[in-house]
Symmetry: C2
Subunit: 196 residues, 2 copies
C-alpha cells in the first residue's frame, strides 16, 4: 500500500518535471504559469503542489540535474591520459548526445538558469564558470602541445559551447538528417577549425 503510493507519487512528479521542461523551453520560465503547467499535466494548479514544493524548485531540479551530468563527464575526461584532441572530441560528443537525449532539459538549463533564486543563482554561475575553465584548460593544453592553432582558448570554449545550441533546429525540422550524420557535421566543422 505504502509502496504503491510512493511509486505513483514519483511517477507523477516525473511527468510534471518533464512537462515543465517542455513548457519552460517554449515560453521561458518567467512567462510560463503554473496554471498552464497544470493544464498540460491534466490537473488543477493547486494539485501540482501535492507533488512539488514550488515553481522555482522545478527550475532548480532541471538545472542541477544537467550540471551534474556535465561535471561528472568532464571529471572522467580529465582523468584519461589522452591527447587534447581526443579529450576535446569527447567533450563535444558528450554535449551533442546530451542535447539529443535530454533536449528540453539541457536547453532550459542553458537559457533559463538566470531565473534561479539566490543562493543557487550565484552557485550555478560558479558551476558554469568552473566548467568553462576546465574546458579551456584542455584547449590550452592542445595549443601548448602544438596540436591546435594559436587561438584564444577562452574564446574557443565559448564558440564551442554556443555552437551546441544549433542542435535546437534538428529537433524542429523533425530529423531531416540522421543522428550520426549530424554529430559528424559538428565534429568536422568544429574540430577541423582548431586543428593545426
Amino acid at each position: 500500500m505504502v509502496k504503491k503510493k510512493n511509486t505513483k507519487g514519483s511517477a507523477k512528479k516525473e511527468i510534471i518535471k518533464n512537462s515543465a521542461a517542455k513548457l519552460f523551453k517554449e515560453k521561458g520560465y518567467s512567462a510560463a504559469s503554473m496554471r498552464e503547467l497544470a493544464s498540460s499535466v491534466g490537473v488543477e494548479a493547486a494539485s501540482l503542489y501535492n507533488h512539488i514544493n514550488s515553481k522555482s524548485e522545478l527550475l532548480h531540479t532541471i538545472c542541477y540535474n544537467v550540471a551534474e551530468r556535465f561535471i561528472s563527464n568532464i571529471d572522467e575526461v580529465e582523468k584519461q591520459e589522452e591527447k587534447a584532441i581526443v579529450k576535446l572530441e569527447r567533450l563535444l560528443r558528450f554535449h551533442i548526445s546530451e542535447m539529443l537525449d535530454h533536449y528540453e532539459e539541457v536547453y532550459v538549463s542553458d537559457r533559463e538558469w538566470r531565473q534561479l533564486d539566490e543562493p543557487y543563482l550565484d552557485e550555478y554561475r560558479e558551476l558554469r564558470r568552473d566548467y568553462r575553465k576546465r574546458f579551456s584548460a584542455i584547449i590550452q593544453l592542445g595549443i601548448d602541445e602544438k596540436e591546435f592553432k594559436e587561438i584564444d582558448s577562452n574564446t574557443a570554449v565559448m564558440i564551442f559551447l554556443n555552437a551546441m545550441g544549433a542542435i535546437d533546429q534538428w529537433h524542429r525540422i523533425v530529423h531531416k538528417i540522421e543522428r550520426l550524420a549530424l554529430e559528424d557535421n559538428f565534429i568536422t566543422l568544429l574540430l577541423e577549425g582548431i586543428k593545426k
Copy 2:
C-alpha cells in the same frame, strides 16, 4: 518650442529603449518589470507611458531594428559577385561587429523574440527562417563549387549563428583581448573548419 519638445522627447525615448535592452538582457523580457525599467531610467512607472505605448512595443522595436540591419546586409552580400567563402566571411564579420556595437539589442532580439505578441511573433519567425535559408544557400553554393566540405548546409548555418552568441563573454570579461583579435579568432575557427 515644438522642435525643442520633440528633440527632448525622442532623446528620452532613446534612453528608455536602451535601458530596456539592458534590462531585458539581464533578467529576460518577462521577468523584467516596467517598475524596474522606470527606476533604472529615474522616473515613476506611469511616466514611461508619456514616451512609449507599451512594454511589448519596446521588445518589438528592439527585435525589428536588429532584423532590419541583418536583412539589409544579406541583401548586399547576395548582390556581390564573389566566391562563397568571401560572402560567408562578410556575413560572419557583419554579425560579429553587430554583436560588438549593439550588444544588448542583438542579444535580446535573439533570445527574447519568442515573447513577441501575434501577429508579430509569426512574422518574426518567418523573417528568421528566411534569413537562415538565404545564409544556407550561400553555403550550399560553396559546397557545389567545391570550395567547402560536403557538410549539411542547414546544420552549418545553425552552428555559425549560434557560435556568434559567444561574444557574450567578451563583454563580461571586459575586453581581455582586442576586438580585432577576437574577430580573427572567430573567423579562423569557423572558416577553417568549413574550407576544403
